[in-house]
């Protein structure tokens, strides 16, 4: 495999992991805060958070271009700018992955039995402990499903990433870029190993998680209420 393809593989992994971490933390936090909060315009905020899921990637990319550009509100904070660095790829992937965590976490939190949270309160637990020892573990199977989807989405991010991070081999070129431009150039010998590796890797992750969740979660997730 050419050195650039190997670089693309490692970069993709790093970008997807970082983006998933960002999306997981912010998605879970938003889901929890919005489940409780009441304020005017809440529904508009909720709709806006799901936008990256329904917008064409090029529209998201254009928005990020304005945001991260040299004169954009985020771009101007970083000396040298963010555009066409691998950080831009992380941001694009995180934005694309965020709604998947948010949506799944939202549904998972809604499923949590409020009596179990109340039981924890009567047993001396403050709100932080209730969240980390009762709410989060009970919602975890649903959140985890969202995180897996988010990781897959981040790994495959193409449109918005191309617009803000570009396709610079050895610098910002991720696997989807490498495959696309290799195929376009008729270089199947570079594209094929990447395709096979991504396929095997994705299958392994999904398969492994299914097995794990069957063993560790099924014993209590089957029965929601006494």
């Amino acid at each position: 495999m050419p050195e650039e393809a190997l670089f693309a593989l490692l970069l993709s992994l790093r970008v997807a992991l970082l983006a998933t971490a960002v999306a997981a933390v912010s998605g879970v936090a938003c889901a929890r805060l919005l489940a409780r909060a009441r304020f005017p315009g809440k529904e508009a905020v909720e709709a806006a958070l799901l936008l990256p899921l329904v917008l064409p990637p090029t529209v998201v990319g254009f928005g990020l271009l304005l945001l991260l550009g040299r004169n954009g509100p985020v771009g101007r904070l970083v000396p040298g700018g963010l555009l066409f660095t691998w950080w831009a790829a992380v941001i694009a992937a995180a934005v694309a992955a965020f709604p998947l965590v948010y949506q799944n976490a939202r549904a998972a939190f809604a499923q949590v039995d409020p009596d179990q949270e109340n039981a924890a309160r009567t047993l001396g637990a403050g709100e932080v402990r209730v969240f980390f020892t009762v709410t989060l573990p009970l919602a975890w199977p649903g959140i985890l499903a969202g995180i897996v989807l988010a990781f897959a989405r981040a790994l495959g991010e193409f449109g918005a990433t191309l617009m803000v991070a570009g396709n610079i081999p050895g610098k910002t070129q991720t696997v989807p870029m490498a495959i696309y431009f290799a195929v376009e150039a008729g270089d199947y010998r570079t594209a094929l190993p990447l395709v096979v590796i991504v396929l095997a890797w994705s299958f392994g992750v999904i398969f492994g998680l299914h097995r794990w969740s069957r063993r560790h979660i099924a014993r209590y997730a089957g029965q929601r209420r006494g």
Partner: protein, 219 residues
């Protein structure tokens, strides 16, 4: 001693409750569903906020609208057995029982652990320690919920329909166990039920009185 004197506006009616329960006594609140029984328990536990009045526990106000006092549930030292038991499904029986000891240290924690061991043995579920709630029968769940509430040695015990989900034979045995609780733990116990057969456990029974849009629970 638990002293309750509260008012709460609910969507369909205004709930008034005024009663005292001395330590060692069992008060039964008996009535059909939808007359505010669970609401009263949740107000005492700090899970709902009354609109007016005051609640004293052990001589200290835990809620007092006029003085702006409203202790959070976590600091009220209330033992609560929920109607559907509300066991933590992701924790084992032993994890459930010890949950209330998190955050305690030293002698308090040691005493709690000892109490947990004793109660598990006494209620005959010592062998179920490593099971998950989904693997328990109704009676076993009920006992775990009761032990979990008692391990912290609460200042008052609140039981919301503790026997509703059980079959008849089991109910009789657990009824006996509940009857012994107030005297043994020297705390006030409040039990809520829609079924008149729990009334004979009681030191005192209250029934709701409806007048206009007000439902009152008073002796």
């Amino acid at each position: 001693m638990l002293a309750v004197e509260i008012e709460k506006r609910l969507p369909d009616f205004t709930l008034r409750a005024s009663f005292t329960v001395p330590a060692g006594e069992l008060l039964v609140l008996a009535g059909p569903s939808g007359v505010g029984k669970t609401t009263i328990l949740e107000c005492v536990a700090g899970l709902q906020r009354p609109d007016a009045g005051r609640i004293d526990l052990g001589g200290r106000p835990i809620f007092w609208a006029a003085a702006g006092i409203n202790l959070p549930a976590a600091r009220r030292k209330v033992g609560f057995v929920f109607q559907a038991y509300a066991l933590f499904e992701h924790l084992t029986v032993w994890g459930n029982v010890l949950y209330g000891l998190r955050g305690l240290r030293g002698d308090e924690k040691k005493a709690g652990l000892r109490r947990a061991e004793e109660l598990m043995a006494r209620f005959g579920i010592g062998h179920l320690r490593d099971r998950f709630p989904a693997q328990l029968s109704g009676g076993e769940r009920q006992r775990v919920a009761l032990i979990r509430a008692l391990v912290r040695h609460p200042a008052v015990l609140l039981l919301d329909e503790p026997l509703a989900a059980l079959d008849r034979g089991l109910r009789e045995r657990l009824r006996q166990e509940i009857k012994e609780l107030p005297a043994e733990w020297r705390i006030p116990v409040v039990l809520v039920t829609h079924c008149c057969c729990e009334e004979r456990l009681a030191t005192r029974v209250l029934h709701p009185v409806r007048s206009g849009v007000t439902v009152s629970w008073t002796p």
